[in-house]
């Protein structure tokens, strides 16, 4: 809908930039405040809870490293989200893409990649995981382009399909389940070979921080460049804004839809592969639990900006680590953080009317 009143349009445009930043910040602060109120309402000591929270986030080199490692995967999923949303596609299937990426990376690491010369031993599983995620995302893109299937529904369903597949792979001995050594053997894969683990950045101080940080940093720059400063970014945007006009202008819109979802899924798959190769080292059926939603929220919060993704990913990486420790030490359920996240998403979506006067069709 075109804004007819030029004065109003001008006024809106002037306000646009600060509000884009203000809304996510204010809603995050309010949501965290509500989280604190909830903790207080349970009768738990707020001070104790915050202490446990802080300790879990940043209490030691190990905890800081673990929080950043978490943020790395979230950032990749978030980047995938904004990449797809540039073409006006909403990829809510991060969870499934992480799951596929992690599962195939584990398979590659356990079967063959370990013996490769240094470097390739972890690069190949990372690549395999990325491709797996890309296929999973690309499938939704293909269905959208070929059949007009809403990508929100298809990516969600693909997640619900991916999770039992991971469960299946760690339940079955002929797939990835490690041989039973004693009665307490859990359904999980064997530990991946040491050569396939991501090298640590600071091996001396006990921090688990690994080179995934550099990979994520490169991804941030590349996505930023592509979205803001490339013809591809412009074309994705054009296809997203008006597919019919783009098609008339000679663009193969199907190609860009599939491409956007493939790249988006690939980033999620890479995030999943990094989770396994970086810190978890073996596959469990619920290794991806919650990461998809977190990554989605990170993508939403960033409002399409790669820098925003970095900030959001760090925020949620630290929040998650803190909330887990809060549950263990201060006995406050970590679900409080889910409540905060839900509120953030709702408030930001609801305030779109403030930042975006144009009704998107």
């Amino acid at each position: 809908m075109v804004m007819k009143n030029p004065k109003l349009a001008q006024g809106t445009r002037r306000k646009l930039v600060p509000l884009q930043v203000l809304v996510p910040v204010v809603s995050t602060v309010i949501a965290l405040g509500i989280g604190l109120l909830i903790i207080a309402a349970t009768g738990a000591s707020v001070v104790e809870a915050i202490e446990a929270f802080w300790d879990g986030m940043a209490g030691s080199d190990f905890n800081i490293g673990a929080s950043i490692n978490r943020a790395i995967s979230l950032a990749l999923v978030g980047l995938g989200f904004i990449f797809a949303s540039r073409a006006n596609l909403t990829n809510v299937g991060g969870e499934g893409q992480i799951a596929m990426g992690g599962m195939f990376a584990t398979a590659a690491a356990l079967h063959g990649a370990g013996g490769l010369p240094l470097g390739l031993a972890f690069i190949v599983p990372l690549a395999v995981g990325t491709v797996a995620g890309a296929v999973w995302g690309g499938l939704a893109g293909f269905l959208k382009a070929a059949r007009g299937t809403n990508e929100v529904i298809s990516t969600l369903l693909l997640s619900f399909i991916a999770l039992p597949l991971v469960y299946w792979s760690v339940e079955s001995f002929h797939l990835l389940r490690k041989p039973i050594s004693d009665v307490s053997s859990l359904p999980e894969s064997a530990e991946i070979p040491d050569t396939t683990k991501l090298p640590l950045l600071f091996p001396d101080n006990g921090s688990p921080l690994h080179i995934g940080l550099l990979i994520a940093a490169i991804a941030v720059v590349v996505v930023w460049l592509v979205l803001k400063h490339s013809t591809l970014g412009l074309r994705l945007r054009a296809v997203g804004l008006n597919a019919t006009a783009s098609r008339r202008a000679g663009m193969r819109t199907s190609f860009y839809v599939i491409l956007a979802m493939t790249v988006s899924g690939g980033l999620g798959g890479l995030g999943g592969a990094i989770m396994i190769l970086g810190q978890q080292f073996y596959l469990t059926s619920d290794f991806s639990s919650g990461y998809g939603f977190d990554g989605l929220v990170v993508g939403l919060l960033s409002r399409g900006s790669a820098v925003g993704v970095v900030i959001g990913a760090l925020l949620f990486g630290f929040l998650r680590s803190g909330s887990i420790n809060m549950e263990i030490s201060a006995h406050v359920p970590s679900a409080v953080v889910l409540i905060c996240q839900g509120l953030i998403v709702i408030v930001i979506a609801g305030s779109a009317i403030l930042t975006n006067r144009k009704v998107t069709r």
């Binding site: 809908m1 909830i38 059949r147 399909i161 339940e171 609801g350 779109a352």
Partner: protein, 307 residues
Amino acid sequence: MIDEQMAVFIGSGLRLAVPIIFAATGEMLSERAGVLNLSLDGMMLMSAFTAALASWATGSPLIGVAAGVLVATAVAGAQAVLSVTLRANQLVVGIGFNILALGSTTFLYREIFGPLSRDPIPGFAQLNLPWLAHIPVIGPALANQTGLAYVSILMVVVTWLILKYTSFGLAVRAVGEDPRAADKAGISVARTRYLGVLYAGILAGLGGAFMSVADSNTFTENMTKGAGYLAITAVIFGGWNPWYTLAACLLFGFATALQFLAPALQLDVPVALLLLLPYLLALVAIAGFVGKSRQPSALTIPFERGG
């Protein structure tokens, strides 16, 4: 032996279908008015928890259901404000509510019942209608259901009647297809859509409450396990028609129940693959069978007067 297994399979298939039938039927009406509630799963989860809590506190499953429906309707009200008045992205808002519902029910459950509680809560008894039980094969499965299960079918009939024969139904269809024309004809788009979303909330509430106080007599964390998403898919699969949607729900229910039948038939199929079957069916269904044309034209598109 096989007969007995079949009866168990049919019985569990129906039980698993009931919550989806409730939710999908309400959602179908809301979507016909142009609003998609991805928050359906959250509404169901909130209702399942509230119903369990209220039933446990008062000893009356009926009060439980009422409380569950009330909470689900409140969530629907919030969804309506955001989708209709604030013209927010309906899908994103829905996901937000689902995260919120998962967080708040998990949190409250642990706070109130403790982390490991599996105490049964007062629930509805099965009706055991003798005249139904005499039907061969499906009879026992049909007869051994709670009253709420029959209500779900009743709601399909009611919803079909509303859509087809009432002026409200006409307004719903008009608003979903061409809100601008409906507006010019004097129909309030906002009011119709609010009522549509609230209707979806009431039915999702019944579906969620069925899970905790009629089906399992307990609440477990994230007990809907994506049933709301299945319901939305059933609406798409059913081509926004109440009867086809009902058929899709039954299909999903039986696909889920297959995991109980497979071991009895000594089929060596991994449970995990049976778990993903309903979702795979749903994906194939929406990708393969549903043309774009049958979707209400104004689905997920906010309406602004004037403009």
